[in-house]
Amino acid sequence: MDILPKSFADRQALVDHVKALSPQAKGDAASPIEATQASLAKRLDALDPAAYGRSRNFINGKVTGLSPFIRHGMVSLNQVRNLALDRVARKSDAEKLIQELAWREFWQLVRRDHPDWIWRDAEPYKTGFSSRDYADALPQDIAAGQTGVAAIDDMIAMLTTTGYLHNHLRMYLASYVVHWRRVKWQAGARFMLNHLIDADAASNNLSWQWIASTYSQKPYIFNLENMQKYCGDAINTQAQDNQALDASYEVLTARLFPQQREMA
């Protein structure tokens, strides 16, 4: 049994080696995010829990970028929490960050106790529809990032080229797939697992269930105004390029969940 090499001329040689070992893996290129100790140290150095708490929902906010490193155990939740507490004058300034770390711990505990929920609905949809009303497969235009909704296409391009998406963008994209396109959350969850460098079935799939409302009290939706507030120039949020998203919550709720309205 051969020991595989651990030294490469350059990063491309490493990528070629991995491609040869795992030709079945989806994707063509590596993420620009490197899994090196230097890359991790840079993110830990920059950790600013108070700024995170104030700005984490903004796409250009002071998020940590630590999720790929936490996912693969390169740094523990305990180590990040301890560092966060060391960095703040008041413990409460670190609460938002620690709460987000707790979400990850929570999803791991849920998977431990309910492994079947990784691919099965934990609860019925609260959208007025049943799971039978949702498509099994991801439509090709979503997989290709050619939905015609500019912001969504930008997110898909970001996902498939970098392997990383800000959490708020993951929520928008998941909501679009499940609620605008009425596709089963499982199909979207699989698509993200195929591309994310921090792909973790517990955090990813159970978060998709949260968006879908099969693990929450109501479906998560958004509108263009909300995206414009949080996305800045990171993605195209021009109204003329995102008509499907450009409406009030009341109008969108009636449009996306008409049967829910009849039930009410």
């Binding site: 049994m1 051969d2 020991i3 595989l4 651990k6 490493l14 990528v15 991995v18 491609k19 070992l21 795992s22 079945q24 893996a25 989806k26 994707g27 290129a29 590596a30 993420s31 995010i33 490197e34 899994a35 090196t36 230097a38 140290a41 790929p68 996912r71 693969h72 155990g73 390169m74 740094v75 523990s76 939740l77 305990n78 180590q79 929490r81 301890n82 560092l83 507490l85 620690i98 709460q99 770390l101 707790a102 711990e105 929570f106 505990l109 849920v110 309910h114 492994p115 990784i118 392997g163 699989r190 697992l193 195929n194 591309h195 994310l196 460098i197 921090d198 792909a199 079935a201 517990a202």
Partner: protein
Amino acid sequence: MATILWVHDGALRADHPMFDAETVKSSPAYKAVFIWDNDYFNKAEMGLKQLVFIYEALLDMPVDIVQGSTVEVLRQWAGTDGTIVTAATSDITLTQMMAALNTSHRLQVVADEPFAHLDKTPDLRRFFRYWNKAKSSAMQHHGGMPILWTE
């Protein structure tokens, strides 16, 4: 009697508590191995970007990388009477592999440093029911391993 430290993709750091397990410390000749297992990667739906990330992380670790079926490789490396030490996980496929290995070998599963201590089994139906119970512990400095600064 061989001691094999099975490093999987959820524990890619050299200061994970599994490296400190008594079984490992008392076996200076232990071997650490990561198994490049395409069947496992396929079940986990991992794409090329994540696989490159994992391989790159392994370059900095004191571990050999071997391609094959995880259970078969570990059984071969551990021989008939070896011990396998690994990191705890909630991943379903890894947990099933551990159960299979436990039927043929002595298996020691080492938990990571705890994030929060809970008095009793938490209510996992909704996050905030969990958070309300975990918060007081999660907001405390727990000590444990400092981060390995390499620069």
